[in-house]
C-alpha cells in the first residue's frame, strides 16, 4: 500500500463529509475534490477531468429525502488514486470509480440504518445530560469519515494492482469501448445539465 494512496483517501473522506453531513459548501463537488487532489499531487489535469466526468455522470442523482445517490467524491477520488498512484488507464479507472461510488452508497445506507438504532440511547442519555448530544454528533461524523476512508483505501488498494494488469491483457475492442464510453461522459453530462436547467412552466 502506498503512502500517497493513504493520504489521498483520507483527504477525500474529509471532503466527502461536506456532501451531506457537515457544511454542504459544495467542496465535495467531484470537480472541486478532483481539482484539489490533482493540485496537491501535481496532476491537475487528471484531477480536473476525472472530477468533472464524475460530476457530470452523477448530475441527475439528487439527494432528496432518504435517497442516497452514488457518491461523487468517492467516484472522483477512487478513480484519481487508481490513475495517479497505481497507473491505471483513466477510462478503466473511471469505470471502477463509478462502481465504487455505487457500492459506497450501500455502505452509507447501512450507516444511516445503524444510526436509527441510536435514537432511544440518545434520548435516554440526553434527558440526563443534554450536552451528551455533542458526543453523538461527533461519533456520527467520525463513523462517516472512517467508513469512507477505509472503503476507498481498501477498494483502491485491492483493485489498483489487478486493474493495471487487467488493462494490459484486455481485448483491444473492450479497451476502445471503454475509451468511447469515457469520451461520451462529458457529452452525456452536458445534455443532462442542459435538461436540468431547462426553464419549465410553474414552480
Amino acid at each position: 500500500m502506498r503512502v500517497e494512496a493513504i493520504w489521498l483517501c483520507g483527504l477525500a473522506a474529509v471532503l466527502k463529509l461536506d456532501m451531506v453531513y457537515a457544511g454542504q459548501f459544495l467542496l465535495s463537488r467531484p470537480t472541486v475534490a478532483g481539482i484539489i487532489l490533482g493540485a496537491l499531487t501535481g496532476d491537475l489535469l487528471t484531477g480536473l477531468q476525472l472530477g468533472l466526468c464524475s460530476e457530470l455522470i452523477l448530475l441527475d442523482h439528487i439527494p432528496v429525502g432518504g435517497y442516497v445517490p452514488p457518491n461523487g467524491v468517492v467516484c472522483a477520488a477512487s478513480a484519481f488514486v487508481l490513475v495517479h498512484v497505481f497507473g491505471v488507464a483513466p477510462p478503466f479507472a473511471f469505470l471502477w470509480g463509478l462502481i465504487m461510488a455505487v457500492a459506497y452508497s450501500q455502505v452509507e445506507i447501512g450507516l444511516r440504518g445503524h444510526h436509527s438504532g441510536w435514537n432511544p440511547k440518545i434520548e435516554k442519555e440526553v434527558a440526563e445530560n443534554p450536552v451528551a448530544l455533542n458526543k453523538w454528533v461527533i461519533k456520527a461524523l467520525a463513523q462517516h469519515l472512517g467508513s469512507a476512508f477505509l472503503c476507498m483505501l481498501a477498494a483502491c488498494s485491492g483493485i489498483g494492482i489487478v486493474a493495471a494488469w487487467l488493462w494490459e491483457v484486455m481485448p483491444q475492442a473492450l479497451k476502445l469501448g471503454m475509451t468511447a464510453g469515457y469520451g461520451a461522459v462529458p457529452w452525456i453530462g452536458m445534455a443532462v445539465l442542459i435538461s436540468n436547467l431547462q426553464p419549465r412552466r410553474g414552480f
Binding site: L48, V137, M178, A184
Partner: protein, 283 residues
C-alpha cells in the same frame, strides 16, 4: 433574536444532517442546532426534557431548516415563560409548527438548491473555464495535455472558475441560512412563517434561464473546440471513435433523461455497444 444566539444556531446548523438516520432523519442535527436557544431559556432537567422533545422526526432541505430553527427558538422562549398549564399547548404548537414548515421549505429548497443552483454553479464554472482558455476537458487526457491546457491563464483559470461557481452557490446558501433564522424567529407564528419574504419562483426562473443559456453556450463552444482538438493528433482510430460517439451520446442522453433513466446506464450501454461493434476488427 440576539446576535450571539443567532450566530451560534447558524454555525451549528451546518451539522444538521450529521446524524441523519432513516427512522427520524435530521432529528439529531436539529436538536444539536437548536440547543443554544434551549440552553438560553431552560436549565437542568427542563433543558434535558426540551432537547428530547426535539429528537422526534424532522426533515427538510438543510439550508432551509433555518426557518424552522428560528420559529422553534421563538416559540421555545414563549413556552419557557408560559404558565405551567399553558405549556402542553405551546409544546404541541412547536411540534406541529415544525412539521408544517418542513414540507414547504423542503419543496422550495430542493428545487432551488439541488435542482437549480447546483447545476447552475457548474454551468457558470464551465463557462468561466471556456472564457479563460480551459477548453479541452472533453478530450482524453493524453490528447488534452497536447492541447496546452494551461496555455492561456494556467492553473489560476481552473481555480478561478471553481471559485466563481462555489461563490454563486454559497452566497445564496449562506444568505438564506442566515436570513431564514431571522424571518423564522420574527414570523410571529404566522401561517407562512417567513417563507414568503422572498419571491422564490421568480428567483428559480431567473437562475434557470441564466444557467440554461450558459450550459447551451458551453455545449456549442465545446463542439468547436472538441472537433479541432480531437484530430490534432492525426486521424487515429481513437479520434474517429470519439468523434462518432460524442453526438450519439449527446442526443441519446436527452432521450434517456426524458424517460428518467440515469446517465450512467447510457455510459454502460455505450461501452457495451462500442465494444461489440469493434469486436473482431483488426487493430
Amino acid at each position: 433574536m440576539e446576535r450571539k444566539l443567532r450566530r451560534s444556531i447558524f454555525f451549528r446548523s451546518f451539522l444538521i444532517q450529521a446524524g441523519w438516520n432513516f427512522e427520524r432523519m435530521q432529528n439529531i442535527g436539529f436538536a444539536f442546532a437548536i440547543y443554544p436557544a434551549l440552553a438560553a431559556v431552560y436549565k437542568g432537567r427542563e433543558l434535558g426534557r426540551a432537547v428530547v422533545r426535539h429528537l422526534e422526526m424532522f426533515n427538510t432541505q438543510p439550508f432551509m431548516a433555518s426557518f424552522a430553527l428560528g420559529f422553534t427558538a421563538k416559540l421555545e422562549e414563549e413556552a419557557a415563560k408560559a404558565a405551567p398549564e399553558e405549556k402542553p399547548a405551546l409544546e404541541e404548537k412547536i411540534r406541529s409548527g415544525k412539521c408544517a414548515i418542513s414540507s414547504p421549505t423542503a419543496a422550495i429548497g430542493d428545487r432551488l438548491f439541488w435542482g437549480t443552483l447546483r447545476p447552475y454553479s457548474l454551468a457558470i464554472t464551465l463557462l468561466v473555464w471556456w472564457l479563460f482558455g480551459v477548453r479541452h476537458w472533453t478530450l482524453p487526457i493524453e490528447m488534452a495535455r497536447g492541447e496546452r491546457l494551461f496555455s492561456t491563464y494556467g492553473a489560476v483559470a481552473i481555480f478561478f472558475g471553481v471559485a466563481v461557481g462555489l461563490a454563486a452557490y454559497n452566497s445564496a446558501a449562506l444568505w438564506i441560512r442566515w436570513k431564514g433564522l431571522k424571518y423564522g424567529y420574527n414570523c410571529a407564528s404566522s401561517n407562512s412563517c417567513g417563507i414568503d419574504f422572498f419571491d422564490w419562483q421568480k428567483l428559480i426562473k431567473h437562475l434557470r434561464w441564466c444557467g440554461f443559456i450558459s450550459a447551451v453556450l458551453v455545449a456549442v463552444l465545446k463542439c468547436t473546440s472538441f472537433m479541432s482538438g480531437v484530430f490534432s493528433f492525426g486521424q487515429t482510430r481513437q479520434a474517429w471513435t470519439l468523434m462518432a460517439v460524442a453526438p450519439v451520446a449527446f442526443i441519446a442522453a436527452f432521450v434517456v433523461r426524458r424517460r428518467g433513466i440515469p446517465g450512467m446506464y447510457l455510459y454502460a450501454a455505450i461501452i457495451a455497444a462500442a465494444s461489440a461493434a469493434l469486436y473482431g476488427v483488426e487493430f
